[in-house]
Amino acid sequence: MTARTTRAGSRLAPYLFVLPALVLFAAFRLYPIGWSFVLSLFHTEGMEQSWTGLGNYQRLVHDPLFWKALGNTLEILVIQVPVMLAIALGLAVALNSALLRWKPLFRLGFFLPVVTGLVTYGLLMGALLNPDSGAVNWLLHVLGLPEVHWLTDPFWAKVSVMLALTWHYTGYNAVIYLARLQGIPDEHYEAAAVDGAGAWRRFWHITLPGLRPALLLTVVLSTIGTLQLFDEPFIMTGGGPDNATTTIGVYLYQTGFRYFDFGYASAIGYAMVLIISVFGLIQTRLAKEED
């Protein structure tokens, strides 16, 4: 083997390593992303396709159901995400505390819901929240509280979806925080304690700043996840009652696969990309400005 062929070989090598991934990625991800944009410019009805330009997007602007779906999605975003992250933060601080016994048990238990699949826990929550005979209403009854029409009342259906999301994802976020907390040196806390800072001030001035990167990460991930929300409402309520839990993801799916209006479904998808990008930009911009 000459020096020349060795060099040529190693110049080619990196491309061969990444080639399978890139080919698959281009064929099954990039190509459909482009195709769906083209689709969004066509009106589809059954097998018929006709050019409509921005027609689907114009229809979107005047579609009350789209705005309702967007509103539902944003409601879940601004209510469920902060509540979940606050609970996760509390859990992480507790899990990191010297006062807590049996830590491995807690780490295991709180992470367990993360492993259960979306359909699994959607069905499980649906059964527990069953208004007529679910265990949650029985519990409310025993406590002397009024029973609730969990999945059948528009307001409570939304609450049900939020409860399920919180149950499923809190542990995931707590683990991210916990890893970061364990990286904050004990000396910082000891120095602050020596200076007379109480628990609350230590949390505010050491814990929170130390967690900043992790907080930003979880906010961005949860925002993207919530804006794409589909499985939970689809399984638990099918988007009902009265479209109260129809998210953009559910609306996109129904448009594409129940009414087979692929052109309009693609326009909804691109609207979603636009909204997610705007949120992503705002969040990273805010994070930078704070620095």
Partner: protein, 281 residues
Amino acid sequence: MARTGPAFRASTRGQVLLTGFMLALLALTVAPLYWLVMASTHSSHEIFTRPPKLLPGSDLGANLSHLQSSVGFGRVVFNSIALAVCYTLLGGVVCTLAGYGFAKYSFRGRGFLFSVLLLALVVPTQLTIVPLFKMMVDLGWLNTYQAVLLPNLALPFGIFLMRQSMKSLPDELLQAGRIDGCGELSLFFRIALPTMRPALAALAMFLFLFQWNDFLWPLVVLRDPSSYTIPVALATLTGSSDVDYGQLLTGTAVSAVPMAVLFLFLQKHFVSGMLAGAVKA
């Protein structure tokens, strides 16, 4: 630094309070899963009696046989296992090779290609399912394993995870191998791969879990009940107005319990993998 007497006494009281509070929260978290396992052993009308059944019943077998007759559950479980195993193996190869390539070589277009991969994380999967579905129809691949597997093999999360773990491998080690006349491929197999063991374990678990729990894409491309996976089959059960919760919850338990057990034994890898994927930003 040292804890003084009074502070220590205060902290034992704090210990009891905090641990007690966390135990209550833990019970709340785990209760739904416990109830699920118990419910799977009861018949439909027993499940919703008051108070809820908190002890095992004797209907697990009956529920399973109802599942078998209504959705062909044996076949469905087989599909789920086969798909998850294939996906773990094939996806593992694709992601590991790419992660290694991105971490250990500098080549033209590397930065650009990698950021395109990451950018795709922001594009919702729902956007691509319509064209992907049409592709599968055109290829005649509906109801096939390859239709389920191929679109997600190059999983950006997996590639990212492997790239992160490969970065800690010293370049000198690879350079020394090259000087000894080792080819690029055998460098990968003999030097890089053995050091990647923990990351490979994490990757394998994530890929398995991802495929086992995936719902939307299999729901779209699997149209024939004999090709269904567990989540898809369970979702069809809820479609009827008169849901048989006995079989539904038994199927749900079959889907959840093996993963929970797997997690209990391998949680170290799960958590380390999750963090390796998350530390970036």
